[in-house]
């Protein structure tokens, strides 16, 4: 069995003007597609029997750097597409909305802290909102490392992930990463984030 590149749950242009169609196409087809192909090659080479990506990441210290990089890239992008939605944005709803308020004080404070984590990640990586044993936490990881990895120094179950590799925003925002981060808040799929929070 091999891992499949999931279809985007919306058109390439659906997230305009926040994320442009060309970026979405290259990001999904080439970057995510590349991680998927390379992950499958690594899984075969290393005779990894698990077909559960979360399980593989939780034990990633046992495998090669290829599995770490491409498995992380595969999982992180799967999550990223799901927590975006053309009709998203606004204030977080449901239990997650309440938990964000009680943990960070307000949605605005959450937004500030998350934006800071995303802006200050030097080089390539991801900013995260995770659930660690019922507690919400904000942080970031380098490259394609995931909070699910046993080797990560920032751990938890991902609820929201923001890709801050330059490939995620360079065609539209170039060096202006903060503008891309600001735009992200207009397309967060809070419904999906709530599902991930409760799971």
């Amino acid at each position: 069995m091999s891992f499949k590149l999931p279809d985007l749950p919306y058109d390439f242009g659906a997230l305009e003007p926040h994320i442009d169609a060309k970026t979405m196409e290259i990001h999904h087809d080439k970057h995510h597609g590349g991680y998927t192909t390379k992950l499958n090659a690594a899984v075969e080479t290393e005779n990894i029997s698990s077909s559960n990506i979360e399980e593989i990441l939780a034990n990633v210290s046992k495998y090669s750097t290829d599995v770490r990089n491409n498995g992380g890239g595969y999982y992180n992008h799967n999550l990223f597409w799901e927590i975006l939605n053309p009709n998203g944005g606004g204030n977080p709803t449901g239990d997650l909305g309440k938990a964000i308020e009680s943990t960070f004080g307000s949605y605005e404070k959450f937004k500030d802290e998350f934006s800071k984590a995303a802006a200050s990640r030097f080089g390539s990586g991801w900013a995260w909102l995770v659930n660690e044993n019922g507690k919400l936490k904000i942080g970031s990881t380098a490259n394609q490392d995931s909070p699910l990895m046993d080797i990560s120094d920032f751990k938890g179950k991902p609820i929201i992930g923001l890709d801050v590799w330059e490939h995620a925003y360079y065609l539209k925002y170039q060096n202006r990463r903060p503008e891309y981060i600001e735009a992200f808040f207009n397309i967060i799929n809070w419904e999906k984030a709530n599902e991930l929070f409760k799971a």
């Binding site: 080439k30 030097f122 080089g123 394609q144 330059e166 490939h167 360079y170 170039q174 060096n175």
Partner: protein, 191 residues
């Protein structure tokens, strides 16, 4: 005293079509400049306020190191490019390349491979070690071999911002283009 953005030794459009004017406008005009500006802000009132970049690379960490090293790395990168690039080294440098890598073509292959396989953001370096021999090194993010006692003679930026407007996900194509504007005359002088 403050750090300054050095002038480019060519016009922003001079390296086209290999590296586009648009890329140079952002890479030099925004990224390189922002590292200089941030560094000046960060060193104010610290022990590094009047330090040179080599000292910062050797002794600083965190934001001062990241921005200081990125200023140095970008200057070293842009300085070695030219619209009238010498395509191949001669003399002592060529001898050293052949001694270490077998041939100039093999060096290009090894260096290109190091560039293509560096995961995430970073730089690929050709350095002289303490015995005077050549080595290829990969460095993540702002890393610079001076910190570990090596003498850099060539660097290639493989942060996505160095090529994304021109070749997007196709980093190997950027690496090919890089060698078309890399001026070996300058690398010979550094060696």
């Amino acid at each position: 005293m403050s750090f300054e953005l050095p002038k480019l030794p060519y016009a922003n459009d001079a390296l086209a079509p290999h590296i586009s004017e648009n890329t140079i406008n952002f890479h030099y005009g925004k990224h390189h400049k922002t590292y200089v500006d941030k560094l000046n802000g960060l060193v104010k009132g610290t022990e590094f306020e009047n330090a040179d970049l080599e000292t910062i690379i050797k002794k600083a960490d965190g934001g001062v190191f990241n921005n200081g090293a990125q200023v140095w790395n970008h200057t070293f990168y842009f300085e070695a490019l030219s619209p009238k690039a010498k395509a191949k080294p001669e003399g002592k440098l060529l001898e050293a390349v052949e001694k270490t890598f077998g041939s100039f073509d093999q060096f290009i292959e090894d260096f290109s491979n190091a560039g293509a396989t560096l995961f995430g953001s970073g730089w690929v370096w050709l350095v002289k070690n303490s015995d005077g021999a050549l080595e290829i090194m990969q460095g993540a993010n702002a890393e610079n071999p001076i910190k570990d006692g090596y003498t850099p003679i060539l660097t290639m930026d493989v942060w996505e911002h160095a090529y994304y407007l021109d070749t997007q996900n196709a980093r190997p194509k950027y690496i090919e283009n890089f060698f078309k504007v890399l001026d070996w005359r300058i690398i010979e002088n550094r060696f």
